[in-house]
Symmetry: D2
Subunit: 144 residues, 4 copies
């Protein structure tokens, strides 16, 4: 399963634009930085619609970013399959994020015939310690 990604960053951005436009509602903030075998990195630009009072990133914004990054890593590996859906998301909030961009690093732990499981580490740009850690399960359509 640990083969090279079958989609480039450009192809993934184009697919997301068509298939997942709601992510960009209110201004494009998620930018795919890299894909690699069984992994992807996405940057979420600091934007007022992701904030809670005090200027830190809200919980739902972090969950959205984690889910998006897992979806990117999954599609990079299996190709443009629109029927993958999140079945479980478990997030631990570890530290208050900074008032800055947030970086999400996804690693796929399993890519099976029916389920994919991945973890996503979230940290503020320029900060080493994690703001949150997320584990997600996707149900994936049967493939050859």
């Amino acid at each position: 399963m640990t083969h090279e990604p079958v989609m480039t960053v450009e192809e993934l951005e184009a697919f997301m634009e068509r298939d997942f436009p709601q992510v960009h509602h209110g201004g494009r903030t998620n930018v795919i930085e890299a894909v690699r075998p069984m992994g992807a990195t996405v940057r979420m630009h600091y934007h007022e619609r992701h904030l809670r009072p005090g200027g830190t990133i809200s919980g739902p914004a972090m969950m959205q970013l984690a889910d998006y990054t897992m979806y990117v890593a999954l599609l990079a590996q299996i190709g443009p399959v629109p029927l993958a859906v999140t079945t479980n998301l478990s997030i631990n909030f570890l530290r208050k994020p900074d008032q800055s961009d947030m970086i999400a690093e996804c690693t796929l732990l399993k890519l099976g015939q029916r389920l994919a499981v991945g973890e996503v580490a979230l940290h503020s740009d320029g900060e080493e310690e994690l703001a949150a850690h997320v584990v997600l399960t996707y149900s994936v359509p049967p493939r050859d």
Copy 2:
């Protein structure tokens, strides 16, 4: 711990208005319907900012609603303590929600000196089956 709530729905709405105004950003949609010993019910009005393509409620909107409902149930029980923070949220997406209001029912499973744990059942208004099920942990400040 299973005593009557110490805050009324009106007091809770007023506290949330002051303490948690970002929830109402873009239009007030979360309405507290009831509080009871170790529990609360919140209605999220159907609103375009909670949608994903096809008109169903997005994952982040459901997580936000679950988190809000747990916070309401917690404050109803312990009073207006602004320092409670979510440390873990685990959500299972069970069925595609309808294009309608969503109802969240929270039950507190534990209200300890340091941690509170609750579950939240989410269903579309008028629909019996659950759209999602959420378990949350809050870190709560020490109390007398």
Copy 3:
């Protein structure tokens, strides 16, 4: 999906005896008390092999009990399908259990074509408050 169970307690005990004998390794302690539409109750008799120092029930013993109870509830609903496997188990430890039998109550939240999700509440016999709360996902084989 919320139909009457298709297996009785006696049929389930017989199936478990054949299919899941390791649960009874070291002495039979799990006893099915009831099955109902989308749910089951199992009693775990107090036994030294489930203990940790101080005489309380160990974490792994509680997890084993929760997993068993979910499996019973699932089989009661779909019949004797040996290929169902646990894919996720998330447990919150809420209170120290008593030195007594432990009761597990499972409710299936979803029984889909590929995944089943259930919650299990664990409490010491005679005690109302929960010792632990568990959410499990099973992968289930395709059915008609």
Copy 4:
């Protein structure tokens, strides 16, 4: 927080022997292989009491191993504190383990004043792919 461990492997084994003897009930199988800043590695020797039919490692045995490894990593970092307790454990079962020793690698993601969060990767000895992935939260006693 990312300082050198304050306990050696030998000190940890001696502490566990005194504080956690039930882990060795039925024969010592968990052996601490290494500790490092914010992490630890434990080997669980293949033993019949950890098996399920077919000779693979049971779910409760994997959970016990993950919990033990997190506890070792935590104590290595904060010293011999017997009051740390597991509050949440979430496990994803990814692949059927081999009939061999199992290796657990724990990384602490957060070590706060009240809560510690860690992840544990479990794989069969000699196998690169994960058999299971676990995220745990411990409640830790206040420290200076």
